[in-house]
Symmetry: C2
Subunit: 442 residues, 2 copies
Amino acid sequence: MKVIVVGGGAAGMSAASRVRKLVPQAEIKVFEESSYVSYAPCGIPYYIENLVNDINSLVTYTPEFFKNERNIDVHIKTKVLKVDLSAKQLTTVSEEGEKIEDFDYLILSTGAVPFVPDRKWLEVNHVYALRHLEDGDALKNDLKNLNNIAVIGGGYVGVEMAEALSKIGKNVTIFEMRRVMPNLDPEYSQIIKQEMQKRSIKVFEGFTVKAIENTGEKVRIIGDSEQPIFDAAVLGLGVRPNVELAKSIGLKLGETGAIWVDETMRTSNEYVYAAGDNIEVNDLVIKGRKRYAPFAPEANKEGYVAGSNVGNQNVRFPGSAGSAITKFYDLEIGVVGITEEEAKRYGIETFPVKIKHNARASYYPPQEEVYMKIVFDKKRKVPLGAQVIGKNVWGRLAYISLAIENNITVDRMFFSGVPYAPPFAPVWDSLIIASRIFYERV
Amino acid sequence: MKVIVVGGGAAGMSAASRVRKLVPQAEIKVFEESSYVSYAPCGIPYYIENLVNDINSLVTYTPEFFKNERNIDVHIKTKVLKVDLSAKQLTTVSEEGEKIEDFDYLILSTGAVPFVPDRKWLEVNHVYALRHLEDGDALKNDLKNLNNIAVIGGGYVGVEMAEALSKIGKNVTIFEMRRVMPNLDPEYSQIIKQEMQKRSIKVFEGFTVKAIENTGEKVRIIGDSEQPIFDAAVLGLGVRPNVELAKSIGLKLGETGAIWVDETMRTSNEYVYAAGDNIEVNDLVIKGRKRYAPFAPEANKEGYVAGSNVGNQNVRFPGSAGSAITKFYDLEIGVVGITEEEAKRYGIETFPVKIKHNARASYYPPQEEVYMKIVFDKKRKVPLGAQVIGKNVWGRLAYISLAIENNITVDRMFFSGVPYAPPFAPVWDSLIIASRIFYERV
C-alpha cells in the first residue's frame, strides 16, 4: 500500500506515524514545502522572545528521525503541483525538478495560511506573516536592528507577538479593526488592552489597515486618517484553511470554507483523507454545525484518526468545541464554545453568568483574580461556551471544555469535586460559583 | 421556625446562611465551641509559615457579620451538652452557664477531630493536634523559641506542616507508619520523600509512634527501637468524624463510622440534618458505597444542601469522588477516586496507566514534569481514580474528577479539547496520552 501525505506539520506527521504503526508494509511518503516537518509554529513567539534560542527546539522530530525510526520517507522543500485522482498519481516539484508519484491513499494536511487582505503586503520589506519556522527565523534576524514594530491584528497571534516583542525591548503598536481579542466580551477585551498599555504597548482599536507600503527603509501603515510609520510590521490577522490543492482536485469544501470530511477524516473522495488546519469538523456545541478549529491538539488527533482509518481501523473524531488559550504576560486568556450572540443566531435561549473571583484562597498570597463568563443553555441546562481570563485559567478552561463536550448539566457542575487547597483555588471556586448562580435559577 | 446549628465551621455557616435566605422569618442559632466561626482550618499551615500574618484572615465572616448582615444568632465558646429529640430541646453550656434551647430543626455540623491514638498524648507539653484556629495560634506562639520539631504522620496535614515549618527555618523530622502520602503509589510517595530530603527534612518511614512523653521541657517520640527527642511535636494522623453528639441521641451511623444521611442531608431522624466532616456521602466511584470525604468544598456544599432542604427546597447532594490536592514546596500532589487495590476489592477489573510527561511544551522553560496515574475500569471504560503529582496538577485533577463523577468514557477523554498553548501544556497533554494508552487497548 502506497500512502502519500501532503504537508509535514502536526497533522501530517501524526497521520503518517499512525499508518506506519498499523500497516508495517506500507510505503509512506511525506511532501513538505518548507525545510521542517513536525514543527510547532505556535512556538515562534517564544523564539522571538528568546525563551527558545534554537529554532530546532520547535521541531519535535527531524526528517532523519522519521526515515530511520519510522521508515517514513520525508521530502522537504517539495511542493505538490497537481493531483490526478483517477490515475492516483501526483506531481511534485523540488530542486531536483518534477516527479510523478503513485498512491493508493492520499492524506491532505496542507494546514492553514495567514490571512492577508492584500497579497501585495507580503512584498513590502520588513513585513512578516508567520506560517513556517523560516518566517520566524527571518523576522528574528530582521528585528536585530529595528525598534518600532507594528503588530497588525489583536487576536491570538497578535497578542503573543506583542508580548514577545515587548519582552525583548521593542516599541510595539497594535492595530486592531475591532478590539483586542475580539472573540471576548468588550469588558474582558478592555482588561487585556489595559494590561498592554501598562506594558507600554500602544493600542489602536477600531483601526482598519487599508494598505501597507514601504517608505524608504520604513513601513507605512495606512489607515482611514492616520498613516504611522514603523521599522517593521508583523501580521496576525488570523488564518484561512489552505484548500488550493483540494479545490484543484474537486474535493468538497464545507460550510466554513475548509475541506469537508466525515468523522473518519475521509474527504468526498474515498481515497483521499484530510486532517489539520485545512479541514472542518463537527461542532460539539451546536449539533449538526461544522466548526473550523485550527488548533494543534485537534490537528494532531485528526492526523491520528486519518492515519488510523487509512490503516483500516474504525476511528471517529467526534469534533471540537474550540477550546483555546493564550496569555499576555501574566494575564491568561481562555475561550471555548460559542458566545451569547452566536447562540441567539441559532435560536438558543441562554443564561449567561459573569463573575470575578479570587484565583486562590483569599488569604493566600499573591491575591490574583479570575474573570469568568459561562454561557449556559437555558433549556438543556448545559454550558455552551466560556471566556476565562486572569490567573489559573488553563485548568478551569479544561474543566469547562470537558463539560461542554459531554453535555454535563449545571447541577453536576455545581456539585462537582473541583479540588481545593488554599494555594490553588478558593473553597468556592469560580467554576462552582458560576454554576451555582444558574443552578439557583433553574 | 426555629433552627439550631451545632458547629460554626464551613458546613454549619453555609447551612445557616441558606436557611436564612430561604426562610426569612426563621429564628436561627449557631453554637460553636471555639472562638471562631466560618473559619478555614486548612489555612493554619500558611499561618505558621507566615504567609498569612493575621489569624483573622482565616475567618471568612465574624459572628457580628452573621448577626448584622444575616440575622443569624451565633454563640461562640458554647458547647452543646445534650439533645432531647422527643422534646426538641437541647442544653448548651458557656461561660454564662447552662441553657435550654428549643428547635424545630437541628443541623449537626460538628466536623472532625484529629485522630490521636492515645488521648494522653495531648496532655504532653509542646504537643499539638490542629483542629481550631486557636490550636494554630498556640502552636505558632510556642514555636518562637523552639527549633527541632517532629511531625507525626505523613499525610496531607503532615506534608503541609512539614513545608510550613521548614520554610520558617525549623529542623523538621517526619514520622510515618507506612510511607509519606500513603494514599499514593510507592513510586510517587518516593518522589515526595526525596523532595523532603532535598529540603533537609528527615523522613522516618515505617515508624510507628508508640507513645509521646515529656522529658524535662523536651518531647520524646517513642518508637519500636528509637526514642528521638524534639522541642515540640505536631500530630497529623488524619481525622475522624466527630459523632459523639449524634451517637448520644441515637442517630444512625454509616458504614464508614460517620453520620448516615440521605442525599438531602437528613439523618435517621426527620428533624435532624447533618453536613460536613461528620457525615458520609455517596461514593461517586463505586455505586452503592459510602465515602467519608472530610474536605472543605464538600462541607460547604453539604451545608448548602442541608440548609436548602430545611428551607423546604428539594436539593440533593450527589456525593463525592474524593478529589483532594496539596503541595510540598513546588511539588503539587493530587488524588481522586479509588486505587487499583480498592477496585480489586470490589471485583472491578482495572487498566492502570502510569506516565511521566512534560508539564508544558518541551521547549518552553522551565522544564518541569507531571507524573500521572489513571486507573480505568476495563469493562465500563471510565476512569475510577487518579494520582497526579508534579506541576500544573490542579487543572488536571479537576478534569479527571469531572470525568470520574460523570462516567466520561476514555474515547471522550482522548478526543477532548484539553486546551493547549506552550506555556500551559504540551500539545499531547498527559491527560490525552494517558487516555490514549487505554483507548488503543480497548
